[in-house]
Amino acid sequence: MSGSRLALGSGRSAAVSGIWPPPWRWMLRGSDTAWAIAFVVPYVAVFAAFVIYPIGFGLWMGRDPALYGLLFSDPLYLTTAINTLLFVAIGVNVQMFLAFLLSGFFLSRSWWVRSLLAIYLVPWALPGLVAFTSIHFMLVTQWGLLDSLWRAVTGGDGPLFLVSAWIAMAANIVSYIWKWMPFWTLVFLAARMAIPRDIHEAADIDGATGYRRLVHVTFPLLANVYLISTLLSTIWTLGDFTTVYFVSSGAPAKLTEVLATYGFHEAFDFGYPNLGVAAMLSALPVLIPLVLLLMRRVRVTGVQL
């Protein structure tokens, strides 16, 4: 809110505009405050009932240190933790980098690129369950679409994708990228379009074109968006359940589970909800610094999502 706008509203506030804390209080008197509070009550109620209470309850469920001893002694948990790390680290970074590059491609205003963008964004609108089930069927058995394509091209039988833990893990990561890269491409595209034209013109005059412009002009301008998007995506991916549950379903032999699916199975298939919660909570040492870093970045740069 600019000072001039406040000045139009009230002479008093103009004198102190631009000083922190902002001089807004004059607006709220008596019954207005009551109204303002009444307007936030619904959200505060939702927050208390469905965020604070579950978080508190979850911490209470996972309070017993013995649970973590039990967890760490499970060899499957270690595999799961490593899988989660790979899934998040590779999935998020490859996705972000490709999305960044592709956003440059989609800047083009020609008709076919714009129509392609519309189609390219379909995975984002497609329900995850549906898309990942379809991908699962492309991979499972030797009669899936990918094996059929393989046979059509090479003549021989294709690999059994979900029998090798590495291929199954790669399938999870690739499917994750397939689903979410469009969204981040759109975010970068919006950010790129917000770059003032004269900056690129100035770079042109200075002879920075092609990849030099990308590295020295565009990327520094988008660095903050890139960082915030990467942090956010990392946090979301840590809790991603749908991809692994439907694409590989942990196959082969539960070697491709991630924390979200591991916790789910512990809690609902084996009937140890506390262990499931403990598995999820074991991600907190990674999660909390990320969240704090993100909140700080958002606060410092005034960026909001």
């Binding site: 706008r5 209080r25 607006m27 207005d32 405050t33 109204w35 303002a36 307007f39 936030v40 619904p42 959200y43 939702v46 927050f47 009932a49 469905f50 579950p54 978080i55 592709l102 392609l116 519309a118 189609i119 390219y120 964004l121 379909v122 984002w124 609108a125 329900p127 369950l129 549906v130 898309a131 379809s134 991908i135 069927f137 492309m138 058995t141 009669w143 059929s148 046979r151 469009p182 975010v187 919006a190 950010a191 301008l221 903050n224 915030i228 840590l238 809790g239 991603d240 359940f241 549950y245 916790g263 909800p273 919660v277 999820m280 909570l281 969240v291 909140m295 958002v298 909001q304 999502l305």
Partner: protein, 285 residues
């Protein structure tokens, strides 16, 4: 000489772009094509092993339409449940989000930043982390196997984003409008209803669509919170096919395609608003 080289370079760039475009098209549509391939086949439990549907027909769609299989006896009822869930989430998210952002952004509630900071915190929690305690709490609230439990979950996860987007968009609307309405004797609720809501319409549409797509996309909470055939949504029902011995995958894929139509149609219909909403409220550096 130089001109010729320039032209060749240009042609090369165009060829590269077209190649990339075709690659992206195949990449994007391959899983979608696989859905069609499986749904158009009338052989229920066999994979065809071919890349074209050998005998394409719409039998499986017809079977879904007439609910002609025991797993999908209640398909349209469950489709209705999905729609109720999506619409309720949409309405509640827009309502709660707009009230909150009006109070924080337009009425400048004192210490309102606490609320928006906390909201951001929800947004940052992985949803799977909350799922297990959430289910227990819903049992305590007496909401097991109830659509309301799922609606509560979806609203919880959609509202923070809604508040932030609306807050951002609200900055574009001059404060003088609110003040003028107040001087004319409007109560805060009248300002909200008659000034704020109409001017915020584009952002409200974007937020509503976001909530709807989020709900359509979400599976875990629907699966955990809904168990009876009567209250089940399509997402939960699709997964039941995996537990069945007969495995009529063509029906399953036909259902999957029908289930995908609403979000994809909304996406194509309202694409402009959603992109604008993202651009105005999205990440800016």
């Amino acid at each position: 000489m130089n001109a010729a080289r320039y032209r060749r370079r240009r042609r090369l760039v165009t060829a590269g772009k077209v190649g990339l475009g075709v690659g992206l098209l195949v990449w994007t549509l391959l899983p979608v094509y696989n859905m069609l391939l499986m749904a158009l086949d009338d052989d229920a439990d066999e994979f065809t092993g071919s890349i074209w549907p050998p005998d394409p027909n719409l039998d499986s769609f017809w079977s879904v339409w007439t609910e002609d299989y025991w797993l999908m006896k209640h398909f349209w009822h469950q489709f209705g449940n999905s729609i109720i869930l999506g619409l309720a989430t949409m309405v509640l998210t827009v309502l709660i989000g707009s009230l909150t952002s009006f109070s924080l952004g337009r009425m400048r509630l004192r210490r309102g930043w606490i609320v928006s900071d906390l909201a951001l915190l929800t947004y940052l929690l992985p949803t799977a982390l909350l799922a297990i305690p959430f289910v227990h709490i819903m049992h305590r609230y007496g909401l097991s196997d109830s659509l309301w439990a799922v609606i509560a979950a979806e609203v919880t996860f959609a509202t923070p984003y809604a508040i932030l987007i609306l807050h951002q968009y609200g900055r574009l609307i001059p404060m003088e409008l609110d003040e003028a309405a107040k001087i004319d004797g409007a109560s805060p609720f009248q300002v909200y209803r008659l000034v704020y809501i109409p001017l915020m319409a584009p952002a409200l549409v974007a937020v509503g669509v976001y909530a709807l797509i989020l709900t359509w996309n979400e599976y875990l909470y629907q699966y955990l919170l809904l168990s009876s055939t009567d209250h089940m949504t399509v997402a939960v029902m699709i997964n039941q096919f995996f537990d069945s011995d007969e495995a009529p995958w063509n029906y399953m894929m036909a259902i999957a395609i029908i289930y995908s139509l609403p979000p994809v149609a909304i996406y194509f219909g309202l694409r402009r608003y959603m992109v604008a909403g993202l651009a105005s409220g999205g990440v800016k550096g």
